[in-house]
Symmetry: D2
Subunit: 424 residues, 4 copies
């Protein structure tokens, strides 16, 4: 576990908290006795990079119940246990336009998405097999949430039972779904399992790490353990982006532009795919049930830090580090993760280059990764060059491009001496 103790990043997070701290509007959720008694004042902000660095500011160690923030993770767990097809027989993935506690069934008799309560109750039913007891099912959920957080999380059963007492609306949804054959469990048991899932205790730091695991394609960035597949993460973040924030997916996507999910105890998470997980904690909620200061912090970070998914960062636009021309050899020094856009740039540079030599060498020492389509595009370009009479060499001391083939033959790889010799 690596929390960075002091850093300008930490300072920046404190700065964000200072920007939003004064806003004491909103109120703690009052429909559950235990939540109503919560201290409204704590304020925390944590950020975890996909490299596994976590930064915290404010009250990041205070535990609170995860509530609806469990929804995306349990959805991801359901995808892992049951597969996409089975899960999407049970629940849709469209925004409902209705309140989180509406039934919102679609034309296929499924709850509209897993982020509304009806959908979350239905998805909870999928965990641990059709015959699972409530206790075993909740334990499965507690286990994966613990793995995602990187520490053992606990249930607050007292809270859960208190919540069950005022869960008229959720019981209504469960009975409604049962009346339509959408639940296996008796309605009360289904809601119990769901409120137990919601009662898992987390702190702001936990949530940042959990969110970062989604952003990192399913590998917990601190432990390095793969918990979910990239596709499961992709689907989960897609559903968060279109259905995660109550009342206004479009507005959220326009103004903040990152997949997010809030919980009624005051938590809020966001993910920036390939980059970050972020979490805030501030229990005062606005009328839609979102944390007031949490929302403000996200808006500030989105605009100041350029986190918006639609913000036009140039990604991999610098794939060709340099082109060096020696006596009879042209050396392309490549770098970075090579995705399609990067590959396009490399190919374009090669094609544009006025080769004064008949030998082309690619130095891929600085390349971090290359995806399938880019590798194929590169192979084809090199094949074309070779057919045109060029001799092609690769220098790949880190093994980034193993088994590269040009035409129907393996590429010729240089060793360090040969590489060095080119420069001479």
């Amino acid at each position: 576990m690596s929390t960075v103790q002091y850093s300008p990043v930490t300072s920046y997070l404190h700065h964000i908290l200072d920007e939003v701290r004064a806003d004491t509007s909103g109120a703690v959720a009052d429909y559950i006795a235990e939540l109503a008694q919560a201290d409204p004042n704590p304020l925390g902000l944590a950020l975890t990079t996909v490299s596994g660095h976590t930064y915290t500011a404010g009250d990041c160690d205070i535990e609170f119940s995860i509530q609806s923030i469990s929804k995306p993770f349990v959805y991801a767990l359901a995808l892992r246990e049951r597969g996409v097809d089975k899960v999407h027989e049970t629940v849709g993935i469209e925004p409902s336009g209705d309140r989180f506690n509406s039934l919102s069934l679609d034309s296929n008799n499924r709850p509209m998405n897993p982020m509304i309560n009806a959908g979350a109750i239905a998805v909870n039913q999928l965990i641990n097999g059709d015959d699972s007891s409530v206790a075993d099912r909740v334990e499965s959920i507690r286990t994966i949430l613990s793995e995602l957080a990187g520490r053992e999380l606990t249930l607050n059963e007292e809270l859960a039972y208190s919540e069950l007492d005022s869960a008229d609306r959720n019981l209504a949804l469960a009975y409604m779904m049962r009346a339509r054959g959408l639940l296996n469990d008796e309605a009360r048991a289904a809601v119990l399992a769901y409120v137990l899932q919601c009662s898992i205790m987390v702190n702001t730091r936990d949530l940042a790490v959990m969110a970062a695991t989604l952003a990192n394609g399913g590998v917990q960035p601190e432990t390095g353990k793969r918990i979910l597949s990239p596709e499961q993460c992709r689907l989960t973040m897609a559903v968060m982006s279109s259905c995660g924030m109550y009342d206004g997916a479009g507005k959220w996507m326009a103004n903040v532009g990152i997949p997010a999910k809030s919980g009624v105890a005051g938590g809020l998470i966001g993910t920036l795919p390939g980059q970050l997980g972020i979490a805030t904690f501030s229990p005062r909620l606005d009328e839609s049930g979102n944390s007031v200061r949490g929302l403000k912090a996200f808006q500030a970070m989105s605009s100041q830090m350029g986190l918006h998914l639609m913000a036009p960062h140039r990604i991999g636009a610098n794939a060709v580090r340099s082109i060096d021309t020696y006596a009879d050899t042209t050396v392309l020094n490549l770098q970075d993760h090579i995705n399609f856009s990067a590959a396009e740039q490399i190919l374009y540079e090669i094609r544009q280059h006025d080769f004064g030599s008949s030998r082309l060498a690619l130095d891929v020492t600085q390349v971090m990764s290359i995806d399938t389509i880019s590798r194929r595009l590169l192979e084809r370009t090199l094949d074309t060059m070779q057919s045109a009479g060029f001799a092609i060499f690769l220098y790949d001391p880190e093994g980034r491009l193993p088994n590269l083939r040009i035409g129907d033959k393996p590429a010729r790889f240089l060793d360090a001496d040969e590489r060095h010799g080119l420069m001479g």
Copy 2:
């Protein structure tokens, strides 16, 4: 204008077309006489990078009417002419869940979003001032679309008037909005202006360049001309992502995951912020009114090319190219665009490094850009180092970090000789 004539990218686009070519399901739109007579067979695919490279495959020169693909661009134009606040008094940005031709007014009496017809008619009204004639308003739209495409586009007025004849539904929407005071123009004039906007003739190549302009933050990547602001592009792509595809924003975001918009004449565009604009053309539509083969091509490209917004690419994860230690100086060689994630990595590396020297030099020759927050984080870190006794130097021959300040004083910049001297 730079269309790359031959390239593995081109080959790859042909390969995508080959994958989808055989699917002749669907039918051309039949509610307008002129569209009903369209040749259903053409198939085109074009891709433009933010660097301004365009690749085409198939029938990319055939002209067809832009139809609904005009909607995001006219929305962006309205944002430019009227500002965000005025535009969002007129139209919302939430997905409607209804068909594109429903009225779908929200609780503020606005059409739900600018991608449904009612919203597009309302947004069209905003162009060229409240007192604009239909002709002048349409000319303003034609002008900006031409700038976006990089060539003079023309209207197909015959088509527009043919469309007006079967525009009962749109006339109904316009009369309904007029009844609610949402239109200035007489209803028929409003619909005429809208169908004229829809009748602007484009080819697949045009659409790819136009989409790439959005992806590029508003600078047309071939002409280099700024047409829209980054914020206008961000909002436009956000609305495309949540409301752009008929019947199923959530499914589209899950499966394809890029902002997109389709037109009833068979066009389809997508944008990948910071990277690409893509366009396809194939007139046969599915029941939702989307191009059958266009959808398939987008799905194939999204998964094969890793274009999904939620796909966890590591962005800027390689910001520190190397750390070189000389006699009494540690040199950090930085590279790439420095966004928040990259800055975090740099700071982390600096803090982790066990400096054997008391002099720290940053070589930012290879840095392409740095955003505000990252620059500030860097300044603060260097300030801390300096306070701790380090002497800090920058080598910035390309002027990437002008006026950098450390503490309250300008940073000390090295010249080339000095930089070279460090190595000695």
Copy 3:
């Protein structure tokens, strides 16, 4: 034409007007220029019995446009011209729960009922054949409304064209219906025909007579001319009762309990089947578009006059006027209209009677009418009596029960002398 000039009924109507006169709340319809300029003060109340007596109080001679009160009559005309099946392919008969100017299509793609504007526009299309010109169709409607009123009514074309100018909402409905294939005419022509229908000028007296024609089963009570069939009237009044009053069929049925229809120019009609037609005129409208003082007058009359359909009047409970026993003959003197309830009473009396004689005579001189089922019940009872040994006779000088059969033989009818002889 028989307007009763002076009567306590007239006084009573004046009394009702005095009760409501002071209420000057509400406002004249302002969406049409011509209506907005109307004098808000007139107040009229007229009542026509099915016997053809008309009583008026207040401003019953002022002409105003019939507006929506035309809807039930044009619906009845459509039933007459096209038959029930064809009409109900075009329009439903269920209350919509929506505003009068909503589209409200049902699952069969029909407007919900003929009392909302969409339904009225669709029903108007049915008049005078599919190929009718607007002028001919409107003339057909003017003609039947004139027959119903018993005088030549005129169109206010100027008003109609003024209304067309602000008919955005109705034009929207018409275009919407046309888009769904529910209209033959071009949308503007359809709305023109409808607003012309609405512009027919009537006074309060006219409306009372027209309403009384419905109450009288289709025979105009002053002229004696049959204009509609009883079934057409029954359906029309049924639709008025469930869909006639905007916003609240249930409340109207609970509080007033008579089929009714209001118009935006201030008219309001009600029918009490078999008894009365009532009309009021007062142009100030409440927020639902109903005449404020008209509603109050109806409520007062309903409760004071016992007009509520659900008020438990005993109908025909006095069918047996007397039973006279003479030497060897029992004479039943029957009276009134014999419906099922009355017949049941007659039969019950016969069965209860302790006949001291073996001869039974029925004197039906005072019977006004007998319906089919009652006649059949009477025949069977007499047959049973005859089989039990009674001799049965009828005295029917007015021919109320022609061709009555007892068992398989014609009944034996007495002449006046024989009847008189019984008493001796």
Copy 4:
């Protein structure tokens, strides 16, 4: 208790049953185990007049659970216990357009009407005071239903608990209402009270008598006991007429035209205000949940027996039995119940009559009743006549018009001898 053992009415009811007996379409309700096992074949029809005569045909003694037919009676009981205002704070009276088991709350957060399950559960809560136990509340309901039926009815508790087991939908409604603060009881207790209410066992004869009590203005026609007020009956029948039949108030009002309510065990009741209560029993249901043969029987009776509320019977059109002119006295013999229409006729006759005498006598021996407004109209007419010089006399041996005043003085009443003397 007076069931008429043999009568042509009975024969007629058998005839109706014969018409519908062959239709074995539909199926018994299968969602409750006990109902699913019911014999589908029984067929019964009973009719009770407001005079207290009951006629039965078929299986009228078989007991079945009252189910939803309890709704109008418990609504009437709530009106009696709590008054109109309190009841209508709890439940609306508008048709919902939705299925009987939808929540259908109106804009005032009330269930739309007492005939849908949500409304019936809410109304049940009103019975026997806010603090009533479930058992006491149900006993109150059982007691009034027994009084209405004229015999002690029993609960089928086993059925109720079986129904509770499959009451997911009703539990959902109850939890939903509880979540909105619309229920006092815990949701499960509320549903238990409702299903117990539904489990009261009745036979077809009972239902006819109960319906006739509504038709009779609240006086049980066999026992003569007043159970409800006329206003409570009027409201109950109004709600039955607009909301009683699932899926299609408008169609029912058009085709059958009498207030009605069906139950899922196969019962169906209808009322004809002032005349009849009717009940049928046949357990096979159509898709809307109405008894197939029950509906057919009602349709047949409505058209054959002229029971439709909108059917134009002439009511009281014969109020003047005769006008006899003697030497110096004109005698008007009046008869029947004098409502407004009848009074109008009397006044009209008086005014039309060419009096050859200066003395006017009214013989009201045959008058059954006179309502307030009619009495007032009569008084005023007689006053006018008296002022014009007529001497006015009344003959009222039955005391139908006690304390009648003409002008400011009591009317002059004749004794029998004086009456007889007139004829001489």
